[in-house]
């Protein structure tokens, strides 16, 4: 016997479990909380499954397929055998050894004394730091400015916090010829200024940017900072790729600009810093009066983060603190290695008619696919944006996995950006070689 169940929203489908159906039926009311409305879809769930199913050469999801540096692996092994405390709860807001070295390390860079206990929160990856930030600071009706293209989680996180995303796009600079590098994609200061209203609570920036790879220059950050100060807005700065800049581009921390420390939450990632994305250790750094709210969310959601991984990261950061700026530094070596891979992939894409946009920083490169003509003869993807269809075709027919860039645009603007796909080049040379072979073969057979 079926009970009528209310269905809310076109994206939601309620499936009743028929097994074990009690005579009175189950949950005739709506089960899920309203905060989940419209945020149930997720590209990673879909595309990582597809890449796995087709055993594709994976330049899709952003993780290295080479190992973390040996000093970090050793640090982890030492932590595991370091006594019973390594396997039990540590300080909830961050393992003391880790917050102390993070404070020391970043104080030197930002040029101010960062308090390890007050100004830092360790989280389960940068992802959870973002979650704590939105949950702590965004209320129903607050507006949050998001720069497009954006790492896809910002929009659903703002929605889940009851906020309203307001979008402002990076666009190719006018009248300068083809936009060949991420530096050519800029914000219009006028357009940006117009997005700030009395309801604006925060702006989210990501530098180096995912997926474009843009590294914001000092002047660009100053424009944003001026608006934040003028409108008394909080800046959420996602800097997970902070060590990965190329061609002499310099990473600038907006929190170090005048008037910005007291209104900025800067987010970092051990996973991206030490090529160990599976450890899920991240942090948020900012003025204590803001951080205390993130801590409240943290203590009421996960409370603690895994101890041994935090200990290992603290050892890694101490080592990097000691060799900072020298050739021994992993933060110096990794971008050099990736610089080569970036060039290699860009050259390969160009040679087969794809038009890459050379990134100044980060893990990714986007390429314009509008020159490519293929018969996307897949009825299962008919209703989807062109880049989604193209990516799925590329996985199924060619065994190469990438990510459609329209996933990094707002639902409102997705239609206008269906001609780019994203490649991750933080891969072993053998993986890049395999990708090259696929692309060359495809290009030769056209």
């Amino acid at each position: 016997m079926w009970r009528r169940v209310a269905v809310y929203g076109p994206s939601l489908s309620v499936r009743l479990a028929i097994a074990g159906f009690h005579e009175k039926g189950i949950m005739s009311r709506r089960l899920h909380a309203r905060r989940l409305e419209g945020i149930d879809k997720n590209i990673w769930v879909e595309f990582t499954q597809l890449a796995a199913d087709y055993k594709a050469v994976n330049l899709g999801q952003g993780f290295p397929d080479f190992s973390p540096p040996s000093f970090i692996q050793e640090a982890f092994c030492n932590a595991l055998t370091g006594g019973f405390r390594m396997h039990q709860y540590t300080r909830a807001f961050g393992h003391p050894n880790l917050v102390k070295i993070l404070a020391k390390f970043f104080s030197r860079i930002v040029g101010r004394e960062i308090d390890p206990m007050e100004d830092i929160l360790v989280s389960v990856g940068a992802y959870q730091a973002l979650f704590c930030t939105f949950q702590a600071l965004v209320d129903e009706g607050d507006e949050v400015i998001i720069v497009e293209p954006f790492f896809d989680c910002y929009q659903p996180m703002v929605m889940m916090a009851g906020g309203m995303p307001v979008y402002v796009p990076l666009k190719p600079r006018e009248g300068r010829g083809p936009a060949l590098t991420s530096a050519d994609w800029v914000l219009s200061p006028e357009e940006l200024a117009s997005k700030f209203t009395s309801r604006t609570k925060a702006i989210v920036i990501n530098t180096p940017n995912n997926p474009l790879g843009k590294v914001y220059q000092w002047e660009e950050l100053q424009v944003i900072a001026d608006l934040c100060i003028k409108h008394d807005v909080i800046c959420i700065s996602d800097e997970v790729y902070e060590w990965l800049t190329y061609d002499g581009a310099k990473h600038v921390k907006i929190a170090s600009l005048p008037g910005m420390w007291e209104r900025t939450v800067t987010i970092g990632s051990a996973g991206k810093t030490f090529s160990a994305t599976g450890w899920k250790v991240g942090w948020a750094i900012g003025s204590g009066h803001i951080m205390k709210h993130l801590k409240t969310v943290h203590q009421n959601s996960v409370y603690h983060c895994a101890t041994a991984a935090q200990e290992a990261i603290s050892v890694g950061f101490q080592r990097e603190y000691d060799v900072f700026g020298t050739e021994d530094s992993y933060f110096h070596q990794l971008p050099i290695t990736l610089h080569e891979k970036r060039k290699r992939l860009a050259d390969c894409l160009k040679s087969v008619g794809l038009k890459p946009i050379l990134p100044q920083g980060g893990y990714f490169m986007i390429a314009d696919i509008s020159n490519i003509n293929v018969d996307l003869n897949d009825p299962t993807t008919k209703e989807e944006p062109y880049d989604y269809r193209f990516v799925k075709w590329l996985i199924k027919e060619k065994g190469l996995a990438t990510i459609p860039v329209s996933a990094f645009y707002s639902p409102e603007h997705r239609d206008q950006f269906q001609k780019y796909i994203r490649f991750c080049f933080v891969k072993e040379d053998s993986t890049l070689q395999a990708a090259e072979n696929i692309l060359k073969q495809w290009s030769e057979n056209k």
Partner: protein, 419 residues
């Protein structure tokens, strides 16, 4: 100058206070015997630690895994719990891996509870339930366990029960869920089949959900049986059951847990997961998965860690109860879990000099830490205001400690009456 715009969002208003903040700094003082916060000072089983060391050596296991749970782990969970539930569990649709049991509770609340809902919580409760319900915008409705015995010795956690009429009176049309915790923290009560049936009947009658926190499910002492409310008729479809690797393998610092339930509920917890932290650490999940598979093969045998740990703890439980009793305190011997509450009334400790702005147990614990160098947790930290009087003569002690820690506690307790 503090900007008004930098104020916290309404959802966390008033949720910044926390009993652990007050009492864990105590743990740092090595001269104090700490039976307060609940974590083992005994080592985890070596094969679990080795599993982690091995996992960390595999490149792929240092990178992102499947968001809702690493395949090795969810498959192992479906095997172990498939046997326990006597039911086929879909590892990908009916299981979610989370950051500890804590993370499972959070995902459950955020997924299924909202403004306008009421959630019934049984006192004394693990302290996070109330703030999590509030953060989800809902109203906590509290009901206390009541001591039905008037004896002064030989009290067990089984003597603490719910008044059935009182419980029925808490359910109404706004009730979205009831949270149960069995074995219970702090009392150690294991809800019997008939007690769970009474709760189940009300859930079905009022069409509510049940969130069953069973993190201590393996720590069951001889003569008692852990019953999963989700296995009662009509309950699978409306129950989320929470488990914990930290409590199962004595690795609280790994922060891995899981939610098990029907797909139509778990999918909403998965939505929260993908919008909050996305995935849990890979090498830790691999190690827990391997540990579970190893113990799955040994289930029912004395070598199985699930039952071996309970056996080891029973001795500690009985030892702790005896050392407390000889001071004149009245321990409540738990049927499960690794905590024991004890009634300190008989000691007649005069604490009027400490003022009257705190419940008696808070004052007693602070006094005990200072004067006796022994730390515990006040039980009123686990109850609402209306139940303070009922519980303020109780303190909670954790006994999953090595023998040397228990020796030190015993020395203090033996000398108690000598001032």
């Amino acid at each position: 100058m503090a900007s008004i715009k930098h104020k916290n969002a309404k959802r966390i208003e008033g949720l910044d206070k926390n009993v652990w903040v007050a009492f864990t700094s105590v743990a740092a003082d090595p001269s104090i015997v700490n039976l307060g916060q609940g974590y083992p000072d005994i080592p985890p089983p070596s094969y679990v630690k080795e599993g982690l060391a091995q996992a960390a050596m595999v490149d792929r296991l240092n990178q992102y895994t499947r968001g809702f749970g690493h395949p090795t782990l969810v498959k192992a969970l479906s095997k172990v719990y498939g046997k326990v539930y006597d039911r086929q569990l879909d590892p990908f649709k009916e299981i979610l891996v989370t950051v500890g049991g804590y993370g499972s509770l959070f995902s459950t609340m955020q997924a299924l509870v909202e403004e306008g809902d009421e959630v019934i919580i049984i006192e004394p409760f693990f302290d996070c339930y109330v703030p999590m319900v509030k953060m989800a915008g809902a109203k906590p409705v509290l009901i206390p366990l009541r001591l039905k015995s008037t004896a002064t010795t030989g009290i067990s956690s089984a003597d603490w029960v719910l008044d059935q009429e009182e419980l029925a009176g808490k359910f109404n049309s706004k009730t979205k869920a009831i949270i149960i915790n069995t074995p219970n923290n702090p009392i150690g009560k294991i809800f019997s089949r008939s007690e769970l049936q009474a709760i189940a009947d009300l859930c079905i009658k009022h069409d509510t959900l049940c969130f069953s926190d069973e993190v201590y499910e393996w720590l069951i002492y001889k003569g008692h049986e852990h019953v999963k409310i989700a296995t009662l008729p009509g309950m699978w479809d409306r129950t989320i059951t929470v488990g914990s690797a930290g409590k199962t393998f004595s690795v609280t610092g790994w922060k891995l847990g899981w939610s098990i339930g029907p797909e139509h509920l778990i999918r909403h917890l998965q939505t929260v997961m993908q919008n909050s932290l996305y995935t849990c650490p890979t090498p830790l999940q691999e190690a827990v998965g391997r540990g579970l598979l190893r113990d799955f093969e040994l289930m029912g045998q004395p070598d199985c860690y699930f039952s071996a740990l309970a056996l080891e703890l029973k001795g500690k439980r009985d030892r702790m109860a005896a050392m407390l009793a000889q001071t004149g305190m009245t321990p409540v011997v738990p049927e499960g879990g690794y905590f024991m509450i004890v009634d300190v009334t008989a000691l007649n400790q005069d604490l009027t000099h400490m003022g009257d702005d705190e419940p008696y147990d808070y004052k007693f614990v602070k006094w005990m830490i200072k004067e006796k160098k022994l730390a515990a947790i006040p039980v009123t930290a686990f109850v609402g205001e209306d139940s303070v009087k009922q519980f303020e003569k109780y303190i909670r002690l954790c006994f999953i400690k090595q023998e040397s820690t228990l020796d030190a506690a015993e020395a203090i307790l033996k000398n108690w009456n000598k001032g």
